[in-house]
C-alpha cells in the first residue's frame, strides 16, 4: 500500500514540448512562403483580364473557391483530429481540433460572403436557398456550435473528447445533408437559378486559382500551427495556475 504519494520526477520530453520546438522552427518559413504565394497569386489574378462569360466578377472566384475548398478541408482536418482524440487520446489531437474550429468558421464566412457578393450581380439576389449554399451555411453553423461548446466547458480534455464525438457525428451527417439537400432542391427549386461551375475553366483562369488555393491552404496551416501553439500555452498557463492554487492551499494548511 503506497503511503506517500510524493511528487515524483517525470520525463520532460512530452509531445507538446516537441511540437512547440518544431513550430518555432518552421513557422517563419511557412509564414514567408504564404506571403510570397499570396503576392504571386494576387498579382496573377489581377493581371488576368476578365474575359470570361461572367465578366470581371470572375476575379471573385480566386478567393471564393479556395475559401470554399478550405472550409471543407478544415472540417476534414478536424474529423481526423477527432479520431486522434477518441482513439489514441493524443493531447495534440485535442488541441488541433479545438484550434481549427475558429479558422474553419472564418474561411466558411469568407466563402459565404464572397459567394453572396458574387451572387448579387450574377443571380440578382444575395442569397438563395440553393443546395450547395445551404450546406455551406449549415457547415458554418456547425463550426459556430462547436466553438460555443468548447467555450462552454472549462475542463479542456473533457471538452475535447465531447466535441470530438460531435465532430464525428457531424461528419457522418454531412453526406446525408448533401444528399437530402439535393433531393429537397430538385423538388422545390425554381428552374431559373443559375447553376455554378459547369463549363471547364480555361488555363488562364486555372493558374491564378491554383496559386491562390495553395496560398490559402498554406495560410490555413500556418494559422493552425500558431493557434495550436497558443492553445498549448493556454493550457500551460491554466495548469500552472491550478498548481499554484494547490500549493497555496497546501502551504497554508500546514
Amino acid at each position: 500500500m503506497s503511503e506517500s504519494l510524493a511528487i515524483t520526477k517525470f520525463s520532460d520530453l512530452a509531445n507538446p514540448t516537441r511540437f512547440l520546438a518544431l513550430a518555432a522552427r518552421i513557422l517563419p518559413w511557412m509564414a514567408a512562403v504564404t506571403a510570397i504565394l499570396f503576392a504571386v497569386g494576387l498579382y496573377m489574378s489581377f493581371s488576368t483580364e476578365g474575359d470570361y462569360q461572367q465578366g470581371q466578377t470572375v476575379k471573385i472566384m480566386y478567393i471564393h473557391v479556395p475559401a470554399a475548398w478550405l472550409s471543407m478541408m478544415c472540417y476534414t482536418v478536424m474529423a481526423l483530429s477527432a479520431i486522434g482524440t477518441l482513439v489514441w487520446r493524443h493531447p495534440l489531437a485535442d488541441v488541433s481540433h479545438k484550434a481549427a474550429a475558429p479558422l474553419g468558421a472564418a474561411f466558411t464566412l469568407i466563402a459565404l460572403a464572397t459567394g453572396s457578393l458574387w451572387g448579387k450581380p450574377m443571380w440578382g439576389t444575395w442569397w438563395v436557398w440553393d443546395a450547395r449554399l445551404t450546406s455551406v451555411f449549415i457547415l458554418f453553423l456547425m463550426y459556430l456550435g462547436l466553438i460555443a461548446l468548447n467555450r462552454a466547458m472549462d475542463d479542456p480534455s473533457r471538452a475535447a473528447r465531447v466535441s470530438a464525438i460531435l465532430i464525428l457525428v457531424g461528419f457522418v451527417n454531412i453526406p446525408i445533408m448533401k444528399f437530402s439537400v439535393d433531393w429537397w432542391n430538385t423538388l422545390h427549386q425554381p428552374a431559373s437559378v443559375i447553376r455554378m461551375g459547369g463549363s471547364t475553366i480555361d488555363a488562364e483562369f486555372l493558374w491564378p486559382l491554383l496559386v491562390m488555393a495553395l496560398a490559402f491552404t498554406l495560410l490555413f496551416f500556418t494559422l493552425h500551427v500558431m493557434a495550436m501553439r497558443n492553445e498549448i500555452w493556454r493550457r500551460r498557463v491554466t495548469a500552472q495556475r491550478r498548481m499554484a492554487a494547490r500549493l497555496a492551499g497546501r502551504d497554508n494548511v500546514r
Partner: protein
C-alpha cells in the same frame, strides 16, 4: 459589364476577415506568452523547468 463594387467588397471582406484572424491568433499568442512570463516571474514554473533548466517556453513568436 464591370462590377467593381462587388469585386472590391469581396476582396475587402476577405482581407478584413483574414487579417482579423491573423491578428487574433497573433495577439492571443502574445497574451499567452505574457501570462507565462508573469507566472514565471512570480516563481511558478513548470516542474520540468524546475528540475532541469529549459529554454523559456515557446521561443520566439
Amino acid at each position: 459589364m464591370t462590377h467593381t463594387f462587388y469585386i472590391t467588397t469581396a476582396y475587402a471582406v476577405t482581407a478584413i476577415v483574414t487579417l482579423c484572424l491573423i491578428f487574433w491568433v497573433w495577439l492571443d499568442g502574445r497574451a499567452r506568452q505574457k501570462e507565462l512570463a508573469e507566472l514565471e516571474a512570480s516563481g511558478i514554473r513548470r516542474r520540468s523547468a524546475q528540475t532541469k533548466p529549459e529554454p523559456a517556453p515557446g521561443g520566439q513568436a
